[in-house]
């Protein structure tokens, strides 16, 4: 190990990557040999890298996700490791205890996989298809909007507001999702609209 | 009818007149007990030594590798402990120190040069055997105690690391001594011909008893019933 190399790599010498691959042909066997006794095989070898941003706090540290399979090639991609991006000016590769455990967020056992519906009075969720869930939502919205939309206030001023259905926007969705959400919510005339800025 | 002399003879010891005279020295139970102890002691020595010195690690192969040595050794230790406890209960009385033992010991030169005629008459055990008995008793207690302290798989939580360090040291030293005592024990049995038979067949010849443990023989004869069934060496 010598720091010269690591500094070079930090400066992002793309060549290093190439060189490493070139070494691969003869180098890989060596790794196996060397690892046979003690040193674990480097687990990121021949994984796909993807740049992302930590979704937690607003320091917004750069992270690199390592996956088996490449989404860009339309493959199924399974993320096997996430660590800080040293090229990122703010975090310089460092991560906090949350960021350093992002893999377990992606793979959390309580990640949601299917749309669910809980009927009034029921004590459980039941799985539904996306179509049924979304049609149901649109129907519920329209019925409420049609029933409670206020076009003019008592002074006859056009107010076009809908205040019986509200929307609580997230805090980790992208700006693009936020903008799309804004369009959808405002165009429907919703005023009960807030985000997590306050909490 | 027990007298103060009784404790020179063991349960089941008896003499059979004839040509040659035979003398029962160990019952079947005693012999089984002894051999269990012996086997476990050997296994312990071998497995223990494999962890004691790198050069001897090869011995662990006999047990299927270091992991199994680590797993087996303490359990064999437990077997040894209880098995030896059996021997102890059988023989501790007979191994109590006697006046003549001092004299015998004082003439150890004659012992080693086989001038048994110059030695005092000895009961069932001579001082040497008694020393082996008592040292083994002490060492095995030390070994089992220190052994439990370093039996991390089950007892790690009960002692400090410093205590475990001491235990390791004590355990290895005690083991060395035990092995040495064992060597003496085994050698003596080989050197004094006719001894091993006592632990294999359970009896010795009258001559053997007369030569090495005359006092024991006298007492056996004294307490033996007036008539005794003859037995030939042929049996």
């Amino acid at each position: 190990m010598n720091m010269e190399l690591s500094r070079r790599q930090f400066l992002g010498a793309a060549g290093a990557g190439v060189a490493a691959t070139a070494l691969g042909a003869l180098g890989f066997g060596e790794i196996e040999a060397a690892h046979a006794e003690a040193i674990r095989a480097f687990k990121l070898v021949s994984t796909t890298e993807t740049r992302n941003t930590c979704p937690y706090c607003s320091v917004a540290c750069g992270v690199i996700m390592y996956s088996k399979g490449d989404r860009k090639k339309g493959e199924r991609a399974e993320i096997i490791h996430i660590e800080g991006d040293t090229d990122h000016p703010t975090n310089r590769g460092t991560l906090c205890p949350k960021g350093a455990a992002l893999l377990d967020f992606v793979k959390s056992e309580t990640r949601l996989k299917y749309p669910m519906i809980r009927k009034p009075g029921s004590d459980r969720f039941e799985r539904v298809s996306w179509d049924d869930a979304l049609d149901r939502i649109a129907r519920l919205m329209k019925d409420d909007r049609d029933a409670n939309f206020i076009q003019k206030n008592k002074d006859g001023v056009t107010v076009n507001r809908w205040i019986t259905t509200g929307f609580l926007a997230a805090s980790a969705t992208t700006n693009e999702t936020a903008w799309e959400t804004y369009k959808v919510v405002r165009s429907a005339g919703m005023l009960v609209f807030d985000n997590q800025a306050r909490v | 009818m027990s007298t103060d002399k009784d404790y020179h003879v063991g349960k089941g010891d008896s003499v059979h007149p004839g040509k040659p005279v035979t003398v029962d020295r160990y019952t079947g139970g005693a012999r089984i007990n002894h051999w269990i102890t012996a086997t476990s002691l050997v296994l312990l020595a071998l497995s223990g030594l494999s962890l004691f010195h790198p050069r001897l690690f090869i011995l662990s192969a006999l047990f299927g590798g270091g992991q199994s040595v680590r797993a087996i050794h303490p359990w064999v230790g437990v077997i040894l402990f209880f098995s030896f406890l059996g021997l102890f209960l059988r023989f501790w009385k007979l191994n109590l120190w006697k006046r003549e033992d001092g004299t015998w010991l004082a003439r150890v030169r004659d012992v080693l040069t086989a001038h048994d005629e110059r030695l005092p008459e000895i009961g069932k055990y001579n001082a040497g055997q008694k020393l082996v008995f008592w040292s083994m008793s002490v060492l095995i207690v030390v070994l089992i105690t220190s052994g439990v302290v370093i039996w991390d798989q089950y007892f790690a939580a009960y002692t400090t690391i410093e205590q475990k360090r001491w235990a390791l040291l004590v355990h290895s030293i005690a083991a060395i001594l035990a092995i040495s005592v064992w060597i003496v024990h085994v050698y003596a049995a080989i050197w004094v011909r006719g001894t091993i038979r006592a632990m294999t067949r359970g009896y010795v010849t009258g001559g053997w008893a007369w030569r090495y443990h005359r006092k024991w023989l006298r007492e056996l004869v004294a307490k033996s019933p007036t008539k005794d069934t003859k037995r030939t060496a042929a049996e």
Binding site: P89, T110, I117, D146, T164, A170, T177 | -
Partner: protein, 812 residues
């Protein structure tokens, strides 16, 4: 943040107050460590608890939660009394010399114009004297007793060190040391940075906490300079973005505001916006308001927004109240006035105050829709989890639809961090099961609703059916399409206003930035302040150039920083009236005789002469405000008010309870413990721990391991008094609820002596609930009061009253 995380390395003094950067923003805190290690910067932490930030501080001063204004006005008073003022800066760049209307006064904790019934002010006197020339009257000598500076001097004079100590419980020597260290930063060659977060915002006077420090920073001349600034650490990864894009009841994107129902048409609406300059030569940038508004309307409704229909002005809903924030939403729900509610990645059951009220409110809905990658408590508010969620499902008639969304690793787009950097990220993993992106989900909702209106007609369908939805795939707009829409497009060719021969943007092209936006409908832009993020140069948010000339920490080519890729706001203020840097070693931009140039994009017209044009271009004055005119609901100066639940009365104005201008709903006043309550004697505060992030990471095995179980923190003194043992169980209850927790007994919390009597602090971390990998637990919000900040309604999570007792253990 006015500055950026990386800029903090340039500071000489870091004041962490109202936040806990080391604990909540460790990787940002790195730059504090760098400043300490490389330029000998000092770190001050002022907090009720000895936090992780305090563990590496040079000076820690304890303070009772909710008394920050008293502390800060105390420091301002110290600076004024001890001449620790950067005079040139204050005179040139603040409204210190502006003359205030005669009617304005402050007495007994109230400013002029208070209406107790409305809990609101008539702010007409909170303004400058306007001269015959239509400009504000100023007195550069600061001799006029009615000038802002003299009013401020008088206003803070009551906050003597003695008074601060009585109110805050801070030991006098510690307070004076803090004031002294801060005072040193009035030198132009020294910069102090303020790092704050929800420790300041989550109070009934949160906005004024921040104003108080902002005023101090102006007096020290630390705004706009490298290593200075007001740096809001912010909470979630894109809370800055969601606020910028205006996802709030009363906002339009880019901090434009939604019309209220008095603003019957576009002209009336504009009449109260687009300010004219209050001093000669000033830029008063909001003069461009109409351009941004019209471009927004075009981005919403495209061709359907025409000059004839006031660019679809009427299609925007009009407010009848100040806003429908989360607290009002749950109040309305609780009154049975709401039918449906959507939670897009938000967990109000745990995140909103007074959980009992929240549960009751959700139970009164007809339908609730949640969209989240994780199984939130809110989605299961109807499910019985014993003591952790003791509800009767059969009695709850709310229909709940839970939609699985993708997480960061599986979607694409930009997030805006607290440095105002818009950073693009790429998807690297395949979503689990049938999880879909939020873009797809929102599109589906719109498309299906629109379809129903097309088929069935119904209440005023126009804004829905005419919503501009020209995406390649109407079912799932791509992040790129949306980003371009946010940046803005030239619908007709746009020419330079100064030189009509010069084309700024060809028709159909993306606009280069907001300077190209027009108010005639020839441009569109979803969020003007983001304009420039994705222009004809490409996706600037995806830039990864790490160059940083002279290592100033600017990183001008890394992603995109709003506005206009500017890294330090008000950076013109880093230079004096001649355009030279106050501190040559801290140069950001300088006037080279013809234009402004330097490391950063000038926050001023490049040709604006330094002596003529003030640095605070968004203000019609061109200067910053020590006196905020009518901009704040609760006063043009901050004043000390106790929390609504307080262990001691208001020593400044005994008659005033809480913030007199804060909104309190009818039912909620009864739910406050009275001041110095014997029933609820302890001052509680809620906060985050470094091992967890809000209510997400309890779903993350590793973080659950690092901090597995809910606990509260108390001092050794209180523990002894109550017979509470380390690691033992306690019950903590307020007037609104009760929780059970393990007790962490620590030296890091000490009783504070306030006005002669000890105040015990009870610390209550959040993070636990009844779903996820960690042990089931409660959160502080079963206890917190249902009241918010007077200006922006952030709930008062940081200061409330509780009682505590040891218990055998939770009843299973």
């Amino acid at each position: 943040m006015t500055n950026s995380w990386t800029d903090i390395k340039n500071t000489d003094l870091v004041v962490i107050m109202g936040g806990n950067a080391a604990e909540a923003h460790p990787c940002g805190f790195k730059w504090v460590t760098e400043a300490k290690a490389n330029r000998g910067a000092r770190l001050i932490v002022v907090d009720p608890r000895f936090t992780r930030s305090a563990s590496v501080a040079d000076l820690y001063a304890p303070i009772r939660q909710g008394t920050d204004i008293a502390f800060l006005l105390g420091v301002i008073n110290y600076c004024i009394q001890n001449e620790k003022v950067q005079w040139d800066y204050v005179k040139a760049f603040t409204n210190a010399s502006y003359i205030v209307k005669d009617g304005f006064a402050y007495k007994d904790g109230l400013f002029t114009g208070y209406d107790e019934a409305k809990r609101d002010y008539d702010k007409s006197t909170w303004d400058y004297v306007i001269g015959v020339d239509g400009y504000a009257v100023v007195d550069d000598t600061l001799a006029n007793p009615r000038c802002v500076w003299n009013l401020l001097k008088a206003h803070v004079s009551v906050y003597t060190p003695e008074m601060v100590v009585r109110i805050c419980g801070t030991p006098k020597d510690k307070f004076l040391k803090v004031a002294e260290m801060i005072g040193e930063c009035s030198s132009p060659s020294k910069a102090m940075t303020s790092m704050y977060a929800l420790g300041w915002t989550q109070h009934s006077k949160g906005s004024q906490n921040i104003r108080a420090m902002a005023m101090l920073q102006l007096i020290l001349g630390n705004i706009g300079v490298r290593g200075g600034g007001m740096n809001a650490l912010r909470g979630h990864s894109n809370i800055q973005g969601l606020t910028d894009v205006g996802l709030m009841s009363n906002l339009l994107p880019g901090y434009l505001t939604l019309p209220n129902e008095k603003e019957v048409d576009l002209e009336t609406y504009m009449s109260t916006r687009g300010f004219k300059p209050l001093r000669p030569n000033q830029m008063s940038y909001w003069q461009n308001y109409r351009k941004f508004f019209v471009s927004f309307q075009k981005a919403m409704w495209g061709p359907a927004a025409t000059p004839e229909n006031d660019f679809a002005y009427d299609w925007l809903p009009k407010l009848d109240v100040s806003g429908y924030d989360i607290l009002r939403a749950f109040e309305l729900m609780n009154q049975g006035k709401m039918t449906g509610y959507f939670c897009q990645g938000f967990n109000p059951l745990l995140a909103a105050p007074n959980r009992k009220k929240v549960t009751e409110s959700l139970s009164k809905l007809k339908y609730l829709v949640t969209m989240d990658p994780l199984d939130t408590e809110t989605a299961r508010f109807w499910e019985n989890h014993g003591e952790f969620n003791d509800v009767d499902s059969s009695q709850i008639q709310t229909e709940v639809i839970q939609l699985p969304s993708t997480c960061f690793a599986e979607d694409e787009g930009s997030l805006t961090n607290s440095s105002r950097w818009l950073q693009w990220h790429w998807p690297g993993g395949t979503p689990p099961g049938e999880a879909r992106t939020d873009n797809w989900i929102m599109a589906q909702i719109h498309v299906r609703l629109k379809e129903l209106y097309r088929k069935e007609g119904g209440a005023f369908p126009d804004p829905i059916v005419n919503l501009d939805w020209a995406y390649a795939d109407a079912n799932e707009p791509t992040a790129e399409e949306l980003a371009k829409e946010i940046n803005g497009k030239a619908l007709a060719t746009v020419y330079d206003a100064a030189d009509p021969t010069k084309v700024l943007a060809e028709a159909g092209k993306l606009v280069p930035g907001f300077a190209a936006l027009r108010d005639d409908g020839s441009t569109s832009s979803g969020c003007w302040i983001y304009s420039g993020c994705f222009n004809e140069n490409g996706n600037n948010m995806a830039r990864r150039d790490t160059s940083d000339p002279d290592e100033t920490g600017t990183y001008p080519k890394w992603t995109f920083s709003w506005p206009a890729n500017r890294r330090i706001l008000y950076n013109r203020a880093s230079a004096d009236l001649n355009g030279k840097a106050w501190d040559p070693s801290r140069k950001v931009i300088e006037w080279d005789g013809a234009k402004w140039a330097g490391y950063d994009v000038p926050d001023i017209a490049p040709s604006a002469k330094p002596a003529d044009v003030g640095p605070f271009i968004m203000n019609p004055e061109g200067v910053s405000r020590l006196f905020s005119r009518g901009m704040m609901r609760d006063g043009p100066f901050p004043a000390h008010y106790e929390p609504f639940e307080s262990p001691v009365g208001n020593l400044i104005a005994p008659k005033v309870r809480g913030n007199p201008a804060a909104r309190v709903f009818a039912g909620d006043f009864e739910q406050f413990a009275e001041t110095a309550s014997a029933e609820f004697p302890y001052a509680a505060t809620s906060y985050r721990l470094t091992e967890h992030f809000h209510y997400w990471t309890k779903h993350v095995r590793v973080n659950a391991v690092l901090q597995p179980e809910f606990f509260v923190e108390i001092s050794e003194e209180l523990a002894a008094e109550k017979g509470i043992t380390k690691g033992g169980w306690v019950r903590v209850w307020s007037k609104r609820g009760s929780i059970q927790a393990k007790a962490v007994v620590t030296k890091r919390i000490k009783p504070l002596i306030c006005d002669g009597k000890p105040v015990h602090v009870v610390g209550i971390p959040l993070h636990w609930g009844f779903t996820g990998a960690a042990k089931k637990g409660f959160g502080p919000n079963s206890l917190t009061p249902f009241v918010g900040d007077a200006n922006i309604e952030t709930p008062e999570y940081k200061a409330f009253l509780v009682n505590i007792e040891p218990i055998a253990g939770p009843v299973a």
